[in-house]
Subunit: 155 residues, 3 copies
Amino acid sequence: MNLLDHGNPVFIAYAVSASILILKAVAMSWLTVLRMMQENGGFRAPEDLRKTPLNPRPRSTQLEPNERVERIRRIQHNDTENLPYFLVAGLLFVFTQPRLWVAQSLFYGYVATRLAHFGAYFTARSHDLRAALWTPGSLIVVYMSVMALIGAIGS
Amino acid sequence: MNLLDHGNPVFIAYAVSASILILKAVAMSWLTVLRMMQENGGFRAPEDLRKTPLNPRPRSTQLEPNERVERIRRIQHNDTENLPYFLVAGLLFVFTQPRLWVAQSLFYGYVATRLAHFGAYFTARSHDLRAALWTPGSLIVVYMSVMALIGAIGS
Amino acid sequence: MNLLDHGNPVFIAYAVSASILILKAVAMSWLTVLRMMQENGGFRAPEDLRKTPLNPRPRSTQLEPNERVERIRRIQHNDTENLPYFLVAGLLFVFTQPRLWVAQSLFYGYVATRLAHFGAYFTARSHDLRAALWTPGSLIVVYMSVMALIGAIGS
């Protein structure tokens, strides 16, 4: 049986959650661009101070960290530290042939907590809330990886 | 039908583009190493100031940011924010069974714009050119993710 | 023949090594959390200075870089620059149908050198040792990517 197939509802759940997470992650890049334009700053490369159509009036302060831009960069950084591992652990988890409701709970639960984590970070809620929203997603990745490991060793 | 197979030309196109991108990404690590050796600086860990065969004459300035090294780190950082999402989105896109020329255009187009983006960043071209070369790749990942999402939901 | 299947021992070796690496990577997040709690500092977001149950006595120095926390962040950063590429290159390498002992050597060799690299970085060993432990893993990813590229082009 081919488990990586649109005929396998567990794989469908993986593909849906993975697609949403990738779109979420890419949105962070665009949000960074948007905020750099709004703030006219928060740039990082020295050449970004050159006079160009997109930057008609350069000033040296444009390279200083801008908190509104940095916030999105921190969120994006959190994504790069987390999402790639979910994306691979989730795929490997499909091979353990979990029950559909278990897989859906883990995959969609991960997506839900990551979106909520974004909301909490974006609106500068307390560290405690952010931690509470990050933790379940991390535990889901741990659980899926352990199951994938056990499933692979045991087969 | 098994879509993840060397008999599927869409998967071949994915495997070719993914391999090239991974090699490109790994090359950034080696380029960082090369520039740290050339500059004899741009290090990051305090222990790197210890006297060793590779660093026979340590000096405290070796831990200061070095622009020639930092440039490669920024390029590498841009890779880590983008490539993992392409690599997974591209794989999921294979399951939507796109027309071969569409898949090849997207996969090879992504590779081409990322290589051009590297060239522009490496040679410190204007922000405008860099942005123009980053944008199509990001839109390709968005398109593939949306198609993967629609394809998964609709099956 | 379906190569991504628990009946394929090369895929088993991939799944085992990938699972272990993901667990290792996630452990870095938890280690960062642990050290931030031990040090009561090394935070990054301005809102983390708010008085909350987890931070009953905030002080402005909590946002300053803390070397014990930064060390784990550097290790985690090294993971995000390396592991995602191994995870995808390894999967593509499975499609080249390598001999089992070759695949196991590369996959488990990668895991072993990454764990050793972590040990060396965590205990602040010399840069030379760290470099010596990073290099084989990077070469393994290059080798697997080149083989995946050749295998895809040649089929």
